[in-house]
Subunit: 346 residues, 2 copies
Amino acid sequence: MKRKITLKQIAKELDVSISTVSKALRNSIEISEDTRDKVQAFAKLYNYRPNNIALSLKNRKTKTIGVIIPEIVHHFFAKVIRGIELVANKRGYNVIVGLSNESFDKEVINMQMLANGSIDGFILSIAKETLQQQDYHHFNETISQGMPIVMFDRVINDIICDKVIIDDMKGSKNAVDKLLKNGCKHIALITTKDYVSVGRLRTQGYLDALEEHKLTPDSNLILKMDDELLSEDHLDSLENEIEQLFKNNKKIDGVFAVNELYAIIAMKVARKMGMKIPNDIQFIGFTDGVLSKHATPSLTTVSQHGQEMGEKAADLLINKLEHEEDEEHFQTIVIETNLIERESTK
Amino acid sequence: MKRKITLKQIAKELDVSISTVSKALRNSIEISEDTRDKVQAFAKLYNYRPNNIALSLKNRKTKTIGVIIPEIVHHFFAKVIRGIELVANKRGYNVIVGLSNESFDKEVINMQMLANGSIDGFILSIAKETLQQQDYHHFNETISQGMPIVMFDRVINDIICDKVIIDDMKGSKNAVDKLLKNGCKHIALITTKDYVSVGRLRTQGYLDALEEHKLTPDSNLILKMDDELLSEDHLDSLENEIEQLFKNNKKIDGVFAVNELYAIIAMKVARKMGMKIPNDIQFIGFTDGVLSKHATPSLTTVSQHGQEMGEKAADLLINKLEHEEDEEHFQTIVIETNLIERESTK
DNA sequence: TTAGTTTGCGAAAACGTTTTCGTGTTAAAA
DNA sequence: TTTTAACACGAAAACGTTTTCGCAAACTAA
């Protein structure tokens, strides 16, 4: 087992200095054609590649982006990563991934591990626990040490950095508009507790749409789930709650859910209760996941364009890394949502 | 914006040598209690952390694992990553992710980028294109340079390294056994072209089960899809092919599909044609994805235990990295599959 | 006092690069 | 023949650590 070859070894072998080898490989004009060819041939033969770590140390930059997301077994986040990876690689960067598992502590630890020289900047979406505790010191510390952060999807206004978000309010307003236009009179909302900002915003969009159509929201039609329920098999109780909702409000003829799973489960309950989709009742969900596409009936959803978010975030970060001029100039990119109409609406 | 503080700066500030600072921070007995306390207090105040890159260079190890997968927007691979990340972090390693997008070139490039010192070892699953071309030189080169590789799921026997696989043959044999036990007489198989090893093995399991029950396979019941179809919206033609299959073989009363999506789509077609699931026809798929769980009816599947695969792979790799004794000793871990019974079977 | 032993600390090398600066040799110009 | 310029290369510093070794000063023992 031969270790990777280094400049020093080449130098020794060819009886020249390390500097000469380095220069020869970089086609420096300082070096005679003879020596240059000799060195390059030798390097090629032994498949020499400069050691990345040494370069990182010397250049004080790693050409690596740190990504921290709450969860990877999740269609949306997976798509974002793909987007990040795509442009990062295209621009000569690597991607290193940390999972917070929605935990504050893991988020902090992960950031600390990476911030000690391993990466040049962060792209991240904030863990739920962090959002609840509202403790953001680790973000501010990282930023004040000169390491740029780009936040996506779950962001915090108070923190000054680049951001990539979707217009949750507008997206859900459009969705509810669509239901109203399709003739729905009693639209239920299935959402999360308010501390998840996207849940709150999407709820607001729902309310706005109603208001615009001069309808007064009926609090009986709004189901706020504690989204611990999403994790694992508390799904049964979710099903029960939805069933109660339908039983207590026979007039419901439309449902807007703030994520894909809520919508799918609601559809399941509705069908079980004998309602016809989309004739008796119509459904719209949020997020462009695989479930929506392949459910029967397939689900109309608000598409979040996860991959695009990732691409934009990576571009934003790399721009900041490569143009120090913009150091004090932060932007927030809003990605347009669009409604993907499928079988669950008329 | 203050840069991260270094030993040198601390040394200068406190008017001692760099060595003293380093030793003080590592609680060396060489250093007097006075100096030690002074240095540690100062370091704490300025939130000193050793620079990872410098450590990597010095120690000639990065404590980072490179993972290369064909695709991340995929439930199975996402679960594997989660498993890897879990044990990697627990054992003090970071995870850096590369996507091959099923492309040979991207696989090679990604490996080259990472192999130049950025990581200590690889965990990977081979791109389809690589499997087709059967060009494995990049794996062998990496290994011969002393960088260990652990392969999972899609592996190659000829390459000598640690592997984590599932028993695809046994898993699908069990599934088909189940269908037979449930009274199915005419079981269709929906599979991929043979160059994808898992497709081939799962097909073999199907054949074995039939043989064991003294049934002769009917080639009309076997549909081999060119799995380019999986990508994007060639799904319609998949649907058509399945419909033809059903129409030409009215007696089909069971379907085994080598992945989740094929099974879901087959169920959809069957329902559209008026068949009742699971009374008229039963379905079993492969992979423990989110689709199977939330489809209606929910799909009985062979679970692959992606997360466990990731965990095992990471343990294997880190063991190899930390115990050079085992350098020549490679193992293949076979993860048991199990059948998750849901509504699509009796 | 002298010799020996601790104690506390610093210098320097090493990891693998790139780059600046210096220097000796040769060729061209005066 | 002397001066100057061009050419080809090497030495050394720097990036931030850890660690080995050496060395003074301050003790302890004789």
